[in-house]
């Protein structure tokens, strides 16, 4: 069958066209991954430091629209509306920097968190001090911290990082927790304050709601308007420097696909995961199918006792429980996705053997093969010219049908072993991380959906190829 004829026939199958379109979409995603999502983010997938400014476990931006709510998005402010700098007229001459940031708040819920960061601090003997004040639209002021020294715990990070809710205690200083409470205390009733002891309070309610009884539980209406964040940093040593200042209003929604519980942008994982899934699926299926087809054809061609021995070996490999062995090997050798694919091929080549062998046996008995043998064609010539020639096109159908299995296995292994062995964000790994966070649909749905879609595209193509290329269906 010629190339042109093949495509003409292929396009008669709607499933084939659908599969091809899906596959093109996926290939586009895989190849264009660096354009769709930053490479830097992908490389830092395991680096918590990189994701520290993101809100943790929030749904995608469009989810707000689904819920019919106006939710605050993720905003990083680097340009202050006011910027002052002066030198104190004292002998040791502390330098003072003062910035004012403005935030228009008009949403239906308070943001997830407020973070203040002074980045890239180089400091001498005496630590720089920082003062942060929030001026609310009702002119009430909350002093988050007034004389804050970078605690020793964070000396290495060269950042002054303060989070108002204090949920990121590992990297942000939770010192501010008390500040919001002290502010609430001024307006709350005594009973509420006592009731609140030991309860989980959202500090954002205190900052972004009207002052009055019940604010600590989020019962008062939201206070819309322009918030001002005033940050003052005092540096004592002449050599002290810093690179930049930023205020982060962590959103209740984030990006195209939301974030996971460590604040990672799931869109990055999904996009780059397509690359990994296609690599694993294609390598695994191509290697195992080629080996299996070769094995089956040769076994049928040789016949007799050699065929018998080859069939016993096949039976043994096909009876080995693959998944536990693969998981164990993965746990110990900690392979890259490429090697994982090859490991799978080590056991998956058995898939096409039975079909191909019976196919080759049938072809071997055809009169034209007999005729070729009669005029003295060599064994090699019969194998390549007559048998392989017919079986090989069908190999492509087999390959396409093997891909989903390989991808499912890889996903399963990554799901179970994820955190320990697979360093790349494969879809299975993302799902493994999501296990136990059953309410975060934006985390659980997309990876599985993509696995399913990738598998489906190959099944659709394989189905069409099977119809066209299977010599058994032809006859």
């Amino acid at each position: 069958m010629g190339f042109k004829e093949f495509w003409e026939e292929f396009f008669r199958y709607k499933s084939g066209i659908a599969g091809l379109i899906l596959l093109f979409g996926l290939a586009f995603m895989a190849i264009g991954a660096p354009l769709l999502a930053p490479t830097e983010a992908y490389e830092n997938w395991l680096n918590d430091e990189y994701w520290v400014e993101n809100p943790e476990g929030v749904p995608p931006t469009w989810a707000a629209w689904l819920m019919g709510k106006n939710l605050p998005g993720h905003i990083i402010m680097t340009d202050p509306v006011e910027e002052d700098r002066w030198q104190e007229p004292l002998p040791w001459g502390a330098r003072v920097y003062r910035w004012v940031f403005k935030y228009d708040f008009y949403y239906d819920e308070p943001p997830k968190d407020l973070m203040f960061r002074v980045l890239g601090v180089t400091r001498g003997e005496k630590a720089p001090l920082i003062r942060i004040k929030i001026v609310r639209p009702d002119e009430k002021e909350i002093t988050i911290t007034c004389n804050y020294k970078l605690s020793e715990r964070f000396r290495d990070t060269n950042c002054i990082s303060i989070s108002v809710t204090g949920t990121k205690e590992a990297r942000f200083d939770p010192l501010s927790k008390g500040a919001t409470w002290r502010f609430a205390e001024k307006y709350e009733t005594e009973e509420n304050m006592i009731k609140a002891i030991g309860m989980v309070i959202d500090e954002m309610d205190i900052v972004f709601r009207e002052a009055g009884p019940g604010m600590i539980f989020g019962d008062t209406p939201l206070l819309h308007g322009t918030y001002k964040f005033i940050i003052t940093v005092k540096m004592y040593n002449p050599g002290d420097r810093f690179d930049g200042m930023r205020v982060i209003v962590a959103g209740k929604v984030y990006g195209l696909l939301g974030t996971d519980i460590r604040g990672r942008d799931l869109w990055v994982g999904i996009v780059w995961g397509s690359r990994l899934a296609l690599i694993v699926g294609l390598i695994g299926s191509v290697v195992s199918t080629v080996v299996g087809v070769f094995y089956g054809t040769v076994s049928a061609y040789l016949g007799g006792i050699k065929d018998e021995i080859l069939q016993r070996i096949y039976e043994v490999v096909a009876s080995i429980p693959v998944l536990p062995i693969l998981i164990l090997m993965a746990a110990i050798f900690k392979p890259s996705v490429w090697n994982l694919a090859l490991m799978m091929a080590l056991f998956y080549w058995t898939g096409p053997v039975k079909t191909v062998r019976s196919m080759a046996l049938q072809i071997k008995e055809e009169p034209y093969v007999e005729a070729a043998r009669a005029i003295g064609a060599s064994g090699w010539r019969i194998l390549t010219k007559y048998i392989a020639n017919q079986v090989l096109p069908y190999t492509f159908a087999l390959m396409a049908m093997t891909v989903p299995g390989v991808i499912l296995t890889e996903a399963g292994i990554s799901f179970l072993m994820g955190g320990e062995i697979i360093s790349e964000p494969t879809w299975g790994r993302i799902l493994g991380d999501a296990h136990g966070y059953s309410k975060m649909w934006w985390w659980i749905l997309p990876p599985g959906f993509m696995i399913c879609l990738t598998g489906l595209s190959f099944v659709l193509i394989g189905y069409a190829l099977d119809k066209i290329l299977n010599p058994m269906l032809k006859r």
Partner: protein, 363 residues
């Protein structure tokens, strides 16, 4: 070759395959786990030495060294590291072949037994319950829909089944399980208890099991619902599609035309003749799928926290409990190979062509 010789040939073949599978699996497990076991020995010994130091602060370096050596030898013996790899593999194979499964390193049954066989017997019923119930429902739905599709080829139902089969072919069962848990255990509340989901998110019985047997049974069914629904959902499409293809193949046979020519009603032709003629092929798939599921579904059982065989295998890997893993591997392989043989033998008994084929090939 007579039937007796045919049986012997098949059994001998199975035996060889079983030995080889056991040897290869054992070798792979041990070779892969070697480094891990060494680490384990070292951490045991180090912990014991530091405990020893605390207990006897006056002990000399010589005494400590002797104690350390002694404990090292003990733990190496315990994990079998004193013997070379091939000896361990052969001993293990022999022990497994003689049904001597040995003791688990870390895993225990709820009753506290550390025998591997007890662990397996404790888990096997749970897997059988889940998968047998699930498979039976799947097959009932699948075969019924497959027959209907074969009756009206090209109809909407037929095309829907083909599409559904393709979609579920690439659908991970464990992910479907996660979705079911998300929807039915978290988003849909229980009308009787607002703090719970409509169905439990995992496990086989509630923590406070009701003592009454009937309530206990209901509690079990309540836990069974989500996993079984998941299983049925992802597999009935494939079953329907396979049945449809088998039945379509049979429909082209001459005897069907004869039956129709006789003027039999279509219903009778379909369910009396066609289904009957297709039943061996369908029955084979049924048996293979039920037996094949006895090893459990490692990932799905883990998602549903279902204490079955698959979960046991996963626990064994996670704890590097090789005796359990090998016992699991041996039992599932043995059951699988035996089933293949029984099917083969039945076919050989019913269809002389099968054994003739072997006889021709074997000579």
């Amino acid at each position: 070759m007579g039937y007796g010789r045919y049986v012997l040939f098949r059994l001998a073949n199975m035996f060889v395959v079983l030995i080889l599978v056991t040897v290869i699996s054992a070798a792979l497990f041990y070779a892969a786990g070697e480094a891990f076991l060494w680490d384990l020995v070292m951490s045991h010994v180090n912990a014991e030495v530091s405990a020893y130091r605390q207990q006897y602060p006056t002990a000399t370096e010589e005494e400590i060294r002797r104690f350390k050596q002694e404990r090292e030898k003990f733990w190496m013996d315990y994990y079998g590291l004193t013997k070379p790899l091939w000896e361990r593999v052969l001993t293990t194979t022999w022990n497994l072949m003689t049904f001597n499964f040995g003791k688990a390193l870390q895993l225990r049954t709820p009753g506290g037994s550390d025998k591997v066989i007890d662990l397996i017997l404790d888990r096997l019923p749970n897997t059988i319950l889940l998968f047998t119930v699930g498979d039976l429902i799947t097959m009932a739905i699948g075969i019924y829909l497959g027959m209907k599709a074969a009756k009206n080829v090209g109809s909407l139902l037929d095309r829907a089944i083909s599409t559904f089969a393709m979609v579920t072919y690439s659908l991970p069962m464990w992910w479907t399980g996660m979705l079911m848990i998300m929807v039915f255990s978290y988003y849909i509340p229980n009308p009787f208890n607002p703090y719970e989901g409509l169905f439990p998110s995992g496990g086989i019985l509630s923590p406070e099991v009701p003592p009454d047997p009937f309530l206990r049974f209901l509690d079990f069914l309540w836990h069974l619902t989500l996993p079984v629904t998941t299983l049925v959902l992802v597999s009935f499409g494939g079953w329907a599609y396979a049945t449809r293809n088998i039945v379509l193949g049979t429909l082209q046979q001459d005897f069907v035309m004869a039956a129709r020519a006789k003027g039999l009603p279509e219903r009778k032709v379909l369910y009396g003749h066609v289904l009957r003629a297709s039943s061996p092929a369908i029955a084979t798939s049924v048996i293979l799928s039920v037996i094949g599921s006895l090893g459990g579904a490692m990932i799905s059982e883990t998602v549903f926290n279902w204490p079955g065989m698959g979960n046991l295998a996963w626990m064994a890997i996670a704890n590097m409990d090789f005796p359990v893993l090998l016992g699991w591997m041996y039992v599932t392989t043995l059951i699988w190979l035996l089933t293949l043989i029984v099917i083969d033998l039945i076919y050989g008994l019913l269809d002389p062509r099968v054994k003739v084929g072997i006889a021709v090939k074997g000579t």
